[in-house]
Amino acid sequence: MAIGGCLLVLVVGAICAAMWGIWRYNNLISLRNQVANGWRQIDVQLKRRHDLIPNLVSAVRGEMQFEQDTLEKVIQARNSAVAARGVADAADKEGALSQTLGRLFALAENYPNLKANENVRSLMEEVSSTENRIGFARQFYNDIATRYNTAQQVFPDSFIAQTFKFQPVELFELKDDAERAVPKVDLNIRPTP
């Protein structure tokens, strides 16, 4: 009788432990997928930026004749970003592209005709929105990646994470101060006075 009782307790305990394990394992899997999805979202927005930049440059080229140098740099930075291989390399090249773009937008402020041009205005809105989207996609990726990393480290979930070899993921960080200082582009919509 006593042995039967002990056995029952053991079996129930084992089932509970197994169910807890499955629950926490699934939680980690779900977070891992969200992290992967967050990463892909960044890629989608980077692709959008690569597609938009040649259009923007050719639209402003006529007006910004004296800035050919800057325009060339934007195109070069864009091409090397497209050609980048690997995460670290891509991050570098995209950072450089952000900087040249920021410069282009700052210079465009000096050309009132550009802002009067419907096509240029709409392209600038699309490009600046894409810049924002890249920033927000990275921010979301960092949030979800932090949650994923924390979930692997907290006790007792850390047992599950170690047993099934979950790896912490790297957060997205800005490399240098120059990149931090990239101004938020905001050209199109001004409040009507």
């Binding site: 929105s129 989207r133 996609a137 979301f140 949030d143 919509i189």
Partner: protein
């Protein structure tokens, strides 16, 4: 921060259940009272028709509000889909997309209300089905950054499941209002006959029961109103805070709120029934700006200066933390 927000959302979903349970109980009391009065005179007690009817009415209006209430709200505000050829409206579309990315949510449907007063609201039943509507006046008055602040606030209502809570609460409050209205009419109409019934032999219990019911009939719409307003106010601070977390720029929302507050005219396109959904009360009432018990009980939003002060505090903490 994300963990904190996650808990906040869970609590919101749990709160939704508590509020709905409370409202269902109020509905049941109204129905039970009507049954009690109907059967107190000694009629054979059959099915509690009024109770079942009241619960069905509440259930139906909640169900309907979740499956078509957002369309009704948008229609009543004269919202139209945005026009992609207009630069400001395209910028709005982009800003909504940006905020959806920041929150990791599907992009809500975007609408524009042709009204010169700056205001905005979100509706829907959760992140999978949601809409954000802003007035033309808002688009014309705010800079892109401020617009982002407002959209982040509305997106937070979606993300925190406030839209679902407010939709259901509004529907149940409406059902309670309707029932208590019927109850009052019934009292006025059949009051005399019923008194004779209870004199004949209904007993003290029935009289007490009827008295409690009458009190419930009179008070329930007020209770429902106060509860739904309290829910709305409580959500506003949270949406300001989570909105600032999306943009990491609380000052933009603060300056947007200042501009919205400066435009004191009411928003005529937006009906009274959806005031609690808006970023700021569209009625342009003075009560929102007053303090004190009565003002606090009947305002849909906390005083706007308090909200601005809290956002500025957040901005200060962000810069001080660097």
């Amino acid at each position: 921060m994300p963990l904190n927000l996650y808990d906040q959302q869970k609590r919101n979903i749990a709160n939704t259940r508590v509020f709905i349970a409370g409202f269902v109980m109020l509905l049941a009391v109204l129905g039970l009272g009507a049954d009690g009065v109907l059967y107190a005179g000694g009629a054979s007690p059959g099915l509690p028709i009024a109770t079942l009817g009241a619960l069905c009415l509440g259930g139906f209006s909640a169900w309907w509000s979740l499956h078509g209430g957002d369309q009704a709200v948008l229609e009543s505000a004269h919202a139209r889909p945005l026009d992609p050829s207009d630069p400001r409206e395209r910028a709005l579309d982009n800003v909504v997309e940006e905020m959806a990315i920041a929150g990791g949510l599907p992009k809500p449907a975007v609408f524009v209300i042709p009204d010169s007063d700056p205001n905005a609201f979100a509706t829907g039943s959760g992140p999978e089905r949601s809409s954000i509507a802003v007035t033309r006046g808002l688009l014309e008055r705010l800079s892109r950054e401020e617009l982002q602040g407002v959209v982040s606030h509305e997106m937070s209502h979606v993300r925190n499941y406030d839209v679902r809570l407010m939709t259901v609460v509004a529907a149940l409050a409406g059902a309670i209002l309707l029932l208590s209205d019927w109850g009052r009419r019934g009292l006025a109409f059949g009051g005399g006959g019923r008194r004779r019934d209870s004199d004949r032999g209904g007993g003290g219990v029935a009289v007490l029961f009827a008295a409690v019911w009458i009190v419930a009939v009179v008070l329930s719409p007020i209770i429902a109103q106060i509860v739904s307003l309290a829910v709305s106010r409580q959500r506003e601070y949270l949406a300001d805070a989570t909105g600032a977390e999306l943009t990491r720029n609380p000052l933009a929302l603060a300056s947007a709120l200042e501009k919205i507050a400066a435009a004191v005219e009411p928003t005529p396109s937006i009906k009274q029934g959806i005031a609690h959904l808006c970023i700021e009360d569209p009625r342009g009432r003075v009560i929102e700006q007053k303090r004190g018990l009565i003002a606090d009980l009947f305002a849909t939003h906390p005083p706007i200066e308090d909200r601005i002060a809290k956002l500025r505090e957040m901005a200060y903490q962000v810069t001080a933390g660097r």
